[in-house]
Symmetry: C2
Subunit: 258 residues, 2 copies
């Protein structure tokens, strides 16, 4: 056991409002704690891979090579760990989605790439997916529920993106938030269903979802008198280009930068 003695240099968390101790013995561990959390999250992901979505804390601790109390020093409880795992998954997803946002392409292609990235991730980590998305924690207040949180993050960034588009095109943006959550839910539900009974190829499902998502968006645009060809390369004004940059950046902390 090469324990201890690795306070890991920097890690950029410049100033999160902690009390100004003056004593540098607390400062020193900042980065270390983050690294440790990450380490445990990864162990959890591995444990889920081995044991399935029903892993217990003991299994996770074992996978991480420590005993339970150590885990509980870094995560207040199971929900907290789950939340972190959820974030891990979201980050992964955003890493896959992020780059595709910078690529040019038609709307169809853009939607397709996002959907495809999502389905790719859940196909790659089915157990993790079930652990994070299919499992809920009713014993915790809704606001802190990992799934809700993560879905909200994604839906919010979609909201922001769509909202900017809508406002730029001078359309009523009142429904944007509901639609965003709805679309996210649609993709999730479809993926969920697909994962259980893989009755069609990923490509096919991607196609179908892309189409219906586009139809939904197109309908909103049409009702505002705007018609866009989904297969034409998308022309973005500087405003909207900025938007896509913001939407992605805001979510996948470590991703790209336009």
């Amino acid at each position: 056991m090469s324990h201890i003695s690795r306070p890991v240099k920097a890690v950029n968390t410049p100033s999160r409002g902690d009390p100004p101790h003056g004593d540098k013995r607390s400062e020193r561990w900042r980065g270390h704690r983050q690294a440790r959390r990450a380490e445990f999250v990864e162990a959890t992901v591995r444990a889920i891979g081995h044991h399935g979505a029903e892993v217990g804390m003991d299994d996770i601790a074992a996978e991480a090579g420590v005993s339970k109390p150590v885990l509980y020093r870094h995560f207040s409880d199971k929900g907290d760990l789950y939340l972190a795992v959820g974030e891990w998954g979201t980050d992964l997803l955003m890493q896959r989605i992020g780059p595709t946002l910078d690529e040019s392409g038609s709307i169809h292609q853009r939607i397709r790439r996002i959907v495809s990235a999502y389905l790719g991730v859940i196909e790659e980590y089915p157990e993790l997916y079930r652990f994070v998305v299919r499992r809920n924690f009713a014993d915790r207040p809704v606001q802190t529920d990992p799934v809700t949180t993560e879905k909200t993050v994604i839906a919010n960034s979609l909201s922001r993106l769509l909202g900017e588009y809508m406002r730029a095109l001078e359309l009523d943006s009142g429904g944007v938030e509901a639609w965003s959550h709805g679309l996210v839910g649609m993709v999730q539900a479809s993926g969920d269903w697909w994962l259980d009974r893989q009755s069609m190829s990923r490509e096919d499902l991607t196609d179908y979802l892309t189409r219906i998502i586009w139809f939904a968006i197109d309908g909103v645009l049409r009702s505002g008198g705007i018609v866009i060809d989904p297969d034409e390369p998308l022309e973005l004004g500087p405003d909207l280009r900025a938007v896509t940059g913001e939407g992605a950046e805001d979510v996948g902390e470590q991703a790209h930068r336009g």
Copy 2:
């Protein structure tokens, strides 16, 4: 305690492949058991109302005026009870939706009524909703998960409905299943979000959802070269009328009959 002594006459379960005992002492209880299950399910719903979605089996038993083991004679385990509660909710929903299917009206109106019924139910029983929908049971195989089951039931009947429409209109129906699950998920996710932060009226959300659902369906139809006015009263051939009857009937056992 007016216990025992109520084997309830008939209840139509004509022949579910039980061993042919010949002894009528087993026959006698058939109906009673069903009635008892229903009774416990209702007690569970009440208990959820009092204690919130985190109710324990003890609470439920107490609410029903019995002790735990009695509960376990009628439900193999918690998941089984949850499944039954889910069915109760689905039945309720179908009772609300069912009648609206027989009413005439434009597509917009029809979609609207269904969405509105759904939102009405979850608004009326928020805790029950959270209990059933937001809570999942990862400790059980996916196939038997209450939520999945109930969503599948709804999505399947939608599938059947849409599929018949599509085939009647000679369009590719390959995506119907995915779309159905997606649409169901969309409504659920939106309702979920709305329930947590009621940032708009139920009417508004109903409008927005109705619009986007119609847009999605309209897109599919348009891509097949068919254009329908969503505000025109819907003309149904005899085939399709039969379909709507079947789709609903298949789900809400006790509902109407065209």
